[in-house]
């Protein structure tokens, strides 16, 4: 391409771009929409099963271990899991901005905000999970100390691992990501608010 094809000739070049235009029939799209709905329902089901499995587990803990600490933390864990189930379902149900009604800048910003909020919220959720899990480890260590002196160190190692992952590494990573999204939002806002020098109209 010679250099004098700039930049308006690029428009011509652009429109010449011969590429496969995927064609979709409305029946195909309708089937795809149904498939997506089914996938969403399946995801909800899996999520509910995963979270619900925590309930019998901790209920079993309450039944099995008779020390007060384990019972207390199992009850706390049940409350936390219940909260997380509701929180997750509510967040998933929250509608995204309407695709056709929302202009590109607002939609992009809303997406960035949604991602920032997700990463901001994770450390709190991690912490909520860590506290009962650590307490459960405490209770189990106390209980198994009477059975064998070798089991508590294993449980303690597990508790330390949980602490590192959920209370230190995980939150730090997600706060960093949340900051990145916030920086992007700030840059977007400043780019939009500064109108700059209006360029010539071609």
């Amino acid at each position: 391409m010679p250099c004098d094809e700039l930049p308006d000739d690029l428009k011509i070049l652009w429109k010449e771009a011969g590429m496969d235009q995927p064609m979709f029939s409305t029946d195909q799209l309708r089937a795809e929409a149904k498939k997506l709905q089914a996938k969403q329902r399946r995801d909800y089901l899996v999520l509910s099963v995963v979270f619900s499995s925590a309930v019998p587990s901790y209920a079993f803990f309450i039944y099995l271990f008779h020390n007060t600490l384990t019972r207390l933390e199992s009850s706390l864990a049940l409350l936390v899991f219940g909260y997380l189930v509701i929180d997750t379902l509510v967040k998933r149900a929250r509608a995204l901005p309407d695709l056709g009604e929302t202009d590109g800048w607002r939609f992009y910003r809303a997406e960035l905000e949604r991602k920032r909020n997700w990463h901001r919220g994770l450390p709190r959720r991690f912490l909520m999970l860590t506290v009962p899990l650590i307490l459960v480890a405490l209770g189990l260590a106390q209980f198994f100390a009477q059975v064998s002196p070798f089991i508590p160190p294993v449980i303690w190692s597990w508790a330390v691992f949980l602490l590192i992952v959920f209370a230190i590494w995980g939150p730090a990573k997600h706060r960093r990501l949340a900051r990145k999204y916030q920086d992007r939002i700030d840059a977007l806002d400043s780019a939009v608010s500064s109108t700059g020098q209006a360029g010539p109209k071609d």
């Binding site: 391409m1 590429m19 590109g104 800048w105 939609f107 992009y108």
Partner: protein, 177 residues
């Protein structure tokens, strides 16, 4: 039933009329052919669904481009995840960056086009919206309506994008020749 039929008819008309611009848009947002096919399907599905709600408060063309760009923006953010949210090029960075590759421009229009796509694929989604609309020959008012930017901001961006294109293609040309 009537609404379903008109939704289908509208979609068919739009797919026929805007098929090529929508394919170029998908290409400009996604370099990977497999993912591009998914993105195209996502865009078409979103358009077909959205026509059930289209009330004519804005022009059909604005509606189509908004839906397509918004779906593509979501796709890009989903693909890049948090790790590279900052790897999009700002216009300043695009202006400052050296040529993507030293291609023989004399080799033809196809290479020039692939350079253009490669440049656009690096840009921030909002700048992509402006440059794509500009390349599709939309006027400033329509671009402002699609992107939500002020008219002054749109013109400023177009001016800078044109500078980027001139620099990039001149640079590549000089390197190649």
């Amino acid at each position: 039933m009537d609404q379903i039929e008109s939704q289908d008819e509208l979609y068919q008309r739009v797919a026929q009329e805007y098929g090529a611009p929508l394919a170029r848009l998908a290409y400009a947002y996604e370099a990977d052919p497999e993912l591009r096919r998914d993105l195209s399907q996502e865009i078409h599905l979103a358009l077909w669904r959205s026509f059930a709600k289209f009330s004519g408060r804005c022009s059909l063309r604005t509606w189509i481009y908004r839906v397509a760009h918004n779906v593509a923006t979501s796709h890009v953010l989903r693909q890049t995840k948090g790790k590279s949210v900052r790897t999009f090029l700002t216009l300043e960075e695009a202006e400052a960056q050296s040529g993507i590759e030293d291609v023989e421009l004399s080799a033809g229009r196809a290479q020039a086009l692939s350079r253009l796509f490669a440049l656009i694929q690096q840009l921030d989604p909002l700048d992509r919206q402006v440059i794509l609309a500009y390349l599709e020959d939309l006027d400033g008012g329509s671009i402002a309506e699609i992107t939500g930017l002020s008219a002054a901001n749109v013109w400023s961006k177009i001016h800078r994008i044109k500078n980027v294109l001139v620099r990039r293609f001149h640079r590549g040309g000089r390197n190649a020749l």
